[in-house]
């Protein structure tokens, strides 16, 4: 029989994430459960819709990463209609996709994850935010964050119609070509993004490498899980976001398998638990053996750290340098430290900016030929991209008129769900001793899952962005000791 210090939200508040911790009789943690309380059902109401509307309908799953859903859906349409975009169409897609990655990664670094390091994990909560970051690195930086974001989003809107929600994806290409004026704007935005990414890397390096305590924190056992990793790689096994082959490496760093999106059902499966609306992905090749890490468990991880773990390096020079420093400091690979996601995200930020610059500098991108019209009868298609938060699968089946008969969506955070559950459990175990709940509990638990930048809105297609959380602590008699709440 477990004792009952419970970290639990008020159950009537179904919009809130819920962490429920059972104590054992010694006052230590028996098991912690992260529960996701809502569901929206996009997969169901996709049925009956026109396939070509899916990029715009599914982008409404998440207004934070609409481009990721828009692009995964668009690529699924390519497969559905068996049509490949002409080179310029493909390049325009990848250009905008990388612009989106820069903007999203930068937002996370400066607003959400970065404060833990730049301001410090032990700093008071009121300081651990963007204002604290600005205090630490200067007001000019705050303005630059806003400025870069605006420039990138204006670029996306200029090509894709709107930044939230884009409309340019069609099977076989994009809806419009890129003028040379817009290409110049893209080149200017990319150059600024490259500088900005270098600056972010410098800020992170100074904060982390200048402070041995942080490296120790990152590599501490409380934030370590030895799992499989999955991510897209290009032909040279370098990190890629828009398109590539999926590669899975094991906890010892050996390649387990590679596969294309079309074969995802052979390798990826979802497990259902009765206590949460979130489904838990696992590797079919290994099987579901419960919430455990190690080579015998099918639990795997996606997102920046996973992408760096599955790849042999980065395809652009500055990102490769940053990657090498990352591996030298935290390696050997695979790096199993969850908090290293923050650093990996900056390495990717550098890559996304450099890749943008490459594409904007490619004269072929202004070629007016941006679409190939589909001729095949639609039947079934799978699209895969690396969303900022990890691998994203869209899978549609249609009738011969191209009306969706079945849709299956596996989103980034779902791939990570089992490992996130492990992280929450481990953070709770590290903190709670003899029934004493430390003040830093919520912060530390939040740090454990903030590193994944989880989007529970995407994962259950329910609530957007960052899940509000209530921690309710009860003594063994069930009486409320205190409540910590994060709306």
């Amino acid at each position: 029989m477990s004792d009952a210090i419970v970290i639990d939200p008020l159950t009537r508040l179904e919009g809130h994430g819920k962490i429920h911790i059972f104590l054992d009789t010694d006052g230590g943690v028996d098991r912690a459960y992260l529960q996701i309380p809502e569901l929206r059902g996009f997969e169901k109401f996709a049925q009956g819709r026109r396939a070509e509307d899916m990029p715009q309908i599914t982008s409404r799953i998440c207004g934070v990463c609409p481009m990721a859903h828009h692009m995964a859906a668009t690529k699924a349409l390519d497969a559905l209609y068996q049509v490949d975009p002409p080179p310029a169409g493909r390049k325009i897609r990848e250009l905008l996709y990388n612009a989106f990655m820069v903007e999203d990664h930068a937002l996370h670094f400066f607003f959400l994850g970065g404060p833990d390091f730049i301001v410090g994990p032990d700093a008071p909560r009121q300081k651990r935010n963007i204002l604290g970051v600005v205090d630490a690195v200067g007001l000019e930086v705050g303005k630059e964050v806003i400025g870069v974001r605006k420039q990138l989003r204006d670029l996306v809107a200029a090509v894709a119609g709107k930044a939230v929600h884009p409309v340019f994806g069609l099977p076989g290409g994009v809806s419009r070509s890129l003028s040379s004026e817009v290409r110049q704007e893209a080149a200017a935005a990319a150059a600024r993004a490259v500088d900005f990414a270098q600056f972010a890397l410098g800020a992170f390096r100074e904060a982390v490498l200048g402070n041995p305590g942080y490296v120790e924190l990152i590599s501490s056992e409380a934030y370590t899980h030895r799992t499989y990793y999955m991510g897209l790689v290009d032909g040279a096994n370098k990190v890629t976001f828009y398109d590539g082959t999926l590669r899975v490496v094991g906890p010892e760093g050996k390649e387990l398998l590679t596969f294309t999106g079309r074969d995802y059902l052979d390798h990826v499966a979802e497990h259902v638990e009765p206590w949460t609306y979130m489904k838990f992905c696992f590797l079919k090749d290994i099987g579901w053996t419960g919430f455990a890490d190690g080579a015998g468990s099918g639990v795997y991880s996606v997102a920046p750290l996973a992408r760096l773990n599955v790849a042999d390096g980065m395809a652009t020079p500055r990102a490769q340098e940053a990657y090498e420093e990352f591996v030298t400091t935290l390696g050997p690979k695979p790096v199993h430290y969850t908090l290293a996601n923050h650093w990996a995200r900056i390495v990717e930020l550098v890559y996304a900016a450099e890749r943008m610059a490459e594409l904007a500098g490619d004269p072929e991108i202004t070629d007016p030929q941006v679409r190939a019209l589909p001729t095949a009868l639609p039947r079934e298609g799978v699209g895969v991209v690396e969303a900022p938060r990890g691998t994203l699968f869209h899978h549609y089946q249609t009738d011969e008129r191209g009306l969706v008969t079945a849709a299956n969506l596996i989103v980034a955070t779902q791939n990570n769900a089992a490992r996130i559950a492990l992280s929450v459990d481990k953070a709770a175990r590290a903190l709670i001793r003899n029934g004493q709940v430390g003040d830093g509990l919520l912060n530390q638990v939040e740090m454990a899952f903030r590193a994944y930048d989880p989007c529970f809105g995407c994962a259950t297609q329910s609530l957007p962005g960052h899940m509000p959380l209530i921690v309710e602590i009860r003594d063994p008699d069930g009486a409320l000791v205190r409540e910590i709440r994060r709306d």
């Binding site: 059902g41 070509e52 509307d53 309908i57 207004g63 499966a269 609306y277 489904k279 079945a406």
Partner: protein, 332 residues
């Protein structure tokens, strides 16, 4: 003079409306100077208790985005209503239900089946489903029941103003806040966007024929779309004629048809019906048989004409003969 206090809150939304507020960029800093943001859970560390502590009507305005589907969202909407002089339904989900409102086409159990049984990646041989109460080795865990019905904000509380769009265009957001600060708001019930059709601000308008007739409708993936010509004249179902202006025709600017996220102009009871009639009126067909055949060629009319407005429509939701009454459906 004290600054007017305002609140932002999201119900069942995707976060895109919040992004639109952040997209004000430096204008956001201007807004912050003019008003006091008393509650914005996604960005600032305020709590529900802070709202409860306010006097009734103390907030000059609450901007509420997202449709309403859970009892928590309903409670917060009611609380903000009590504390606010004006409530603005922010974005098309709060106003008409939005894309998530398409869930009203199905009942909860259909959605549960699709997600936990039918999805081809699910491995669930013993038929496990999320349950309101479940027993784990360590004890008992509870989950809220899943409610599938999506309601608009004004189906839950009294709403003073509407700011349409998916998300609302930043220019309209800035104007709405300015009007609020200057005490320059229009009459209750007003939609804070131009009351004209989208075509009036579409750069393609000069190419729209006076007497537009479409022989056969095309779908966007079937044709190469001319970037200058009126989309309807190209045979694409562009909902510009039925839709309110205010977005600078963003989607036609991206060389794709308008899908109606700004909702209708004033006086329209049911946006989808209006959109359908606008499209039917340009159909070049003679006789009942031909008209029937042409209309049948319009695939997915619900997803096309009611994409953002099903919960606000006269239909509201699909009702099966065996379904419970609507109130029971609505309460999660």
């Amino acid at each position: 003079m004290t600054k007017p206090k305002i609140a932002f809150y999201w119900c069942a939304s995707c976060g895109g409306c919040e992004e639109a507020v952040v997209d004000l960029g430096e204008d956001l800093l201007t807004v912050v100077e003019l008003v006091e943001v008393a509650f914005w859970p996604v960005a600032l560390d305020f709590k529900r208790e802070d709202v409860e502590a306010l006097d009734d009507g103390e907030l000059a305005a609450a901007f509420i985005n997202g449709a309403v589907r859970t009892s928590e969202q309903e409670e917060m909407a009611r609380l903000l209503r009590r504390k606010s002089a004006a409530v603005v339904a922010f974005g098309i989900c709060a106003m008409l239900g939005g894309v998530p409102g398409l869930a009203n086409l199905y009942e909860s159990r259909d959605i549960i089946d699709a997600v936990y049984h039918e999805a081809p990646s699910v491995q669930n041989d013993d038929g496990t489903l999320p349950a309101e109460e479940s027993r784990v080795a360590e004890g008992q865990l509870t989950l809220p029941a899943f409610g599938a019905s999506v309601r608009t904000l004004d189906q839950v509380i009294d709403v003073d103003y509407y700011l349409p769009g998916c998300p609302p265009p930043t220019g309209l957001i800035a104007s709405a806040v300015t009007a609020l600060v200057e005490g320059n708001l229009p009459g209750k019930g007003a939609v804070l966007a131009p009351d004209v059709a989208l075509c009036s601000e579409c750069p393609r308008a000069p190419t729209k024929p006076d007497k537009l007739l479409v022989r056969a409708f095309q779908r966007p993936h079937q044709v190469l779309i001319d970037p200058e010509l009126c989309l309807l004249a190209q045979g694409l179902i562009c909902l510009g004629p039925a839709t309110r202006a205010g977005c600078a025709a963003a989607c036609p600017g991206g060389n794709m048809p308008c899908t109606g996220c700004m909702g209708p102009t004033s006086g329209v009871v049911d946006y989808g019906a209006k959109a359908l009639s606008a499209i039917a009126s340009v159909l070049d067909a003679d006789g009942e048989d031909e008209i029937t055949a042409r209309v049948a060629e319009i695939t997915d009319p619900v997803g096309t004409f009611y994409r953002y407005s099903l919960p606000a429509s006269l239909l509201h939701r699909r009702v099966r003969p065996a379904a419970r009454d609507e109130k029971a459906e609505v309460a999660p």
